[in-house]
């Protein structure tokens, strides 16, 4: 073997050494972090959020609503007395009583309804998971795949877990907002708010079902494709799930923002600009 051949061999070995070294480093991180993230994702997707910890908060909110409804019943009674013999007022009072009674039952049972929804979502997610027959594991084949996909996979899993953890926190806090949403839904002044709260909580509770379908489909596609393309599909699914969660949560919060804007900001703005408008009208008349 001549000197040229030796130099050539060394030059060829350098990239392989770099890739192998990088792969060793990435796999060190990967093997430590990936199982943890996968377990976490599995728990966040299939186990119900522990809302029982926030039961005292729910109880406090419901007690406040109960006291308000006590006042509400008295006010309807007074309204009936004051309205005289007007049939339209009588009908209105009747509707108000119906709304109040229905609201009271719904709010009193809201904890069980909330638990039921969470358990239902968890059961659907778990059954989809076992039906798809997939496990949330991806292990790169070879050094090159480890270098190219390893860290990207970890980042995807981390982003997915972050959105799922955020969702879980919101669901836990939601147990206190759920009765408020149900109570507001029954009255014209709070219909927008009520629907926004309840719809958001419904979406947050049933979000894992969509996530798991997406992951299961990606896993099947990945297994069917095989090789680097299959690994790529498997990895991308985590990003897609993270993106889906983010978009859905962002859009619902934007919707809440719109409701807040229309029911709180708009009247406040109108009150704030009212003096200016009055002055302008006076000016128009005088001028």
């Amino acid at each position: 073997m001549g000197i040229e051949d030796m130099i050539g061999n060394v030059l060829l070995a350098i990239p392989k050494l770099i890739v192998d070294g990088a792969a060793a480093l990435v796999s060190f991180v990967f093997n430590g972090v990936a199982p943890m993230l996968e377990n976490q994702a599995n728990v966040l997707l299939t186990y119900p959020a522990p809302v029982a910890n926030l039961y005292p908060m729910w109880l406090f909110v419901v007690q406040i609503i109960a006291l308000l409804s006590v006042v509400g019943f008295s006010l309807i009674g007074l309204y009936l007395l004051i309205s005289g013999s007007n049939p339209a007022d009588r009908e209105k009072a009747k509707d108000m009583i119906q709304d109040l009674i229905f609201m009271a039952f719904l709010v009193a049972a809201s904890y069980f309804i909330y638990l039921l929804l969470i358990e239902l979502s968890s059961a659907i997610a778990t059954s989809f998971w076992s039906f798809a027959g997939t496990t949330m594991t991806y292990r790169p084949n070879g050094a090159a795949e480890m270098v190219f996909f390893g860290l990207l996979y970890l980042l995807g899993a981390f982003l997915m877990n972050a959105t799922l953890a955020f969702r879980s926190i919101l669901i836990m806090a939601g147990v206190a907002f759920f009765p408020i949403g149900l109570a507001l839904m029954r009255f014209p002044f709070g219909k927008g708010w009520g629907h926004a709260i309840v719809n958001t909580l419904f979406l947050l509770i049933f979000l894992p079902v969509a996530d798991i379908i997406m992951i299961a489909v990606s896993a099947q596609a990945s297994a069917a494709m095989g090789g680097a393309a299959g690994s790529f599909v498997w990895m991308v699914s985590y990003y897609l799930v993270a993106l889906l969660n983010f978009i859905l949560m962002f859009s619902t919060f934007k919707k809440i923002g719109d409701v807040v804007g229309s029911t709180v900001v708009a009247p406040v703005y109108n009150i704030a600009v009212a003096p200016v408008k009055i002055i302008e009208k006076i000016k128009d008349r005088v001028m």
């Binding site: 419901v62 006291l67 409804s69 006590v70 008295s74 006010l75 009674g77 039952f105 009193a108």
Partner: protein, 100 residues
């Protein structure tokens, strides 16, 4: 009158020997104020409706008006008395005693 009402509502808080009031005490005081007002109004309404009926003679419109007023006054009074307790019954009856 407003000051007197506020003082009366805050009476549990101002009393020296009683424990600090909870929000439900204040709410029940408000409910009692509404009930007193309602009772007063029911009395006036029933008296007025009675006089209207007595003086209606053969006028069916006034008779119907008086009937309607009496009906509403009775329903309103009943609701005023049992309504708050009905609400408490619903909530206390259905509230779980411990987290499920």
């Amino acid at each position: 009158m407003g000051v007197a009402l506020a003082a009366w509502l805050a009476a549990p808080a101002l009393a020296a020997d009683t424990p600090p009031p909870v929000i439900s005490d204040v709410v029940w005081r408000i409910v009692h104020v509404i009930q007193y007002l309602g009772g007063l109004f029911a009395m006036v309404t029933l008296t007025y409706a009675g006089i209207l009926w007595m003086t209606a003679g053969h006028d069916p419109m006034n008779k119907d008006k008086a009937k309607g007023m009496i009906e509403m006054a009775i329903i309103g009074t009943v609701l005023l008395i049992i309504g708050p307790y009905l609400a408490m019954w619903i909530f206390e009856g259905f509230l779980p005693q411990s987290p499920g």
